[in-house]
Symmetry: C2
Subunit: 343 residues, 2 copies
């Protein structure tokens, strides 16, 4: 770790669902962090979870990472020779079958995230990064939320606008609506929500280092409504909102047909794209290799990041899981948490 | 041309909007057809349009193609040493500015297509392929249709289901709804329309040479509705219709989340994808390079094909326009017309 490491954000790392590849990629990442080369994330990392799951990850990865258990984060002796671990002792991995959905493991994931959120709200963690969850396990383990973003909002006591953000190397996407029926989404596409999504995109992209973020705004209807011939939300709602936000100094462009905007973003025209509904952006980013990207919960008091890929049961325990997306996720958590602390 | 050329479908070629690259790529294609190598399309080709526009294309392409004007197609002496031309003398290209939308050129495009449709309905043409139109020009030239597919349906007297199909090397897409507002599309996603789109996909893919077409059916809501949590059209409408069609022997699979189905189709799981609304498929196929693909009007008495790209005013007259997509379009017209004639 770098000499100025005490100035680095403190990012809590959750090992992910123990039934999947989370522990393996977490160990690979921690090994890189201790090596402190150019690939090391610009953060102090502390594992929060069950030390037995960390040991499992070392066996999966075929790598040994020195670690030390601390009762509290403020007692950690930061050093380049070990990883600090807050051992919650809340999941014995020997008690769950691997490679399949486990309510017990899902419960532990949720419990661990809640513990980390409480640490963050208490000022002891600057950001939270988690290796892949299994959403079905989380749900069957008793954490009944539409998605983990809703869970994080609830646990941080957030009541305003927030949203899932998806980051690939080419650009980031932000959502006016997300995990709702398309029919319900149509009724939620209001000037207020579009404005909130645009402001969130602008602020988050600035935190990611884009001094003057260029943001594309997707249309709702085919061919951008073809001048009102195929729907008028572009004329009545989206364009006026984009113009209002532009007058506030946000570099927003649109509405742009959704079959064109991602081609423009891919070639570098935009740093971020605000999409009206879930599948617009997800069709595009998944085709562009979002599996290697990062999912962020943007707009909450605490920064949350996670790799876009899942628990990958198909390559479990083979030692070949790629920690690349998790490394991006840690880096992004550190960057966003660092920007927040400077405000 | 091949010795058995009289058995080949007779495809009428329209030169496209004279303000764009259509005439140039048409000439390049015709030159290949006369050369009769492996690249030659499996069709007899006749140009229908203005001979002066063909001459313009030769100047743009820097290629001379021998042609002969005939008053009627049934008088053509088919030979490998010239291209037959039905000269409608309906547009003097010297009278329109190039590289911009021209109502006059749009009018001529529509008039030419109508002439070709009448030939097809009279049994004189087996299929119609057209170099790029300009939709705005067509509209301002007096052809007031939502899209050219609606125009073709009207001019062929078609009253049943039909649809735009988009073909890329990896797969073809078919639409339950197309150029309508997304809000209106939601109300049109009925078992009847899904069934019609699936049957059209099945029949058309068979005509394209897929003996047992594998067809993926897209979901409407995010995450395929997450078991009814985010919308129930998958449960109430799409899945039952897919099951009904499977019982009829159509190899349909779905509904599949729209952010996953195109990844599956890209890797070869499906020959065709039936999408619920316009942008689902267009976001995907455009990112996959649909510009080099082909647009087909499927389900009418006459086969219509055209390159997916436009009039490309930006590279006009430079001799570098690529005739590849037009060649695919001619080939597809020949294949579909040939299959229809064998029924």
């Amino acid at each position: 770790m770098a000499p100025d490491m005490h100035a680095q954000p403190l990012v809590g790392l959750m090992l992910g669902d123990a039934t999947g590849i989370g522990p393996e990629i977490a160990v690979k990442l921690l090994s890189t962090a201790l090596a402190a080369g150019d690939d090391a994330p610009p953060a102090r990392l502390a594992v929060v979870g069950d030390a037995r799951v960390l040991e499992l990850g070392m066996r999966d990865a075929g790598i040994s990472v020195p670690y030390q258990i601390y009762p509290r984060l403020d007692q950690v002796a930061w050093s380049a020779d070990h990883i600090p671990v807050i051992d919650l002792a809340n999941l014995d991995p020997a008690s769950v079958a691997r490679g399949e959905v486990s309510p017990e493991s899902g419960r532990a994931c949720g419990d661990t995230l809640k513990y980390m959120i409480d640490l963050a709200l208490d000022g002891q963690l600057d950001g939270i990064c988690f290796a892949p969850l299994n959403k079905a396990a989380l749900h069957s383990g008793g954490w009944h939320f539409t998605d983990e973003h809703q869970m994080f909002a609830h646990l941080t006591g957030h009541t305003g606008f927030f949203g899932e953000m998806n980051v690939i190397p080419e650009f980031a996407t932000f959502r006016v609506t997300s995990h709702v029926a398309l029919r319900a989404a149509l009724d939620m596409i209001t000037p207020e929500r579009i404005g909130l999504a645009l402001r969130l995109a602008h602020a988050t992209l600035r935190d990611m280092g884009h001094e003057h973020p260029r943001i594309g705004v997707a249309a709702l209807n085919p061919h951008c409504g073809e001048n009102g011939l195929f729907g008028d939300e572009e004329i009545t709602t989206i364009r006026p909102t984009v113009e209002t936000l532009r007058a506030e100094g946000i570099d927003a462009t649109g509405p742009i047909s959704s079959d064109t905007i991602f081609i423009k973003a891919k070639r570098g025209d935009f740093d971020g794209v605000v999409m009206m509904y879930h599948d617009q952006g997800q069709i595009a980013t998944k085709l562009l290799g979002f599996n290697k990207g990062v999912t962020v919960t943007a707009g909450l008091k605490t920064v949350f990041t996670t790799p876009a890929h899942g628990t990958a049961f198909d390559i479990l325990g083979q030692g070949k899981a790629d920690p690349g997306a998790l490394a991006h996720a840690v880096r992004l958590a550190a960057m966003l948490a660092g920007a927040a602390s400077r405000r």
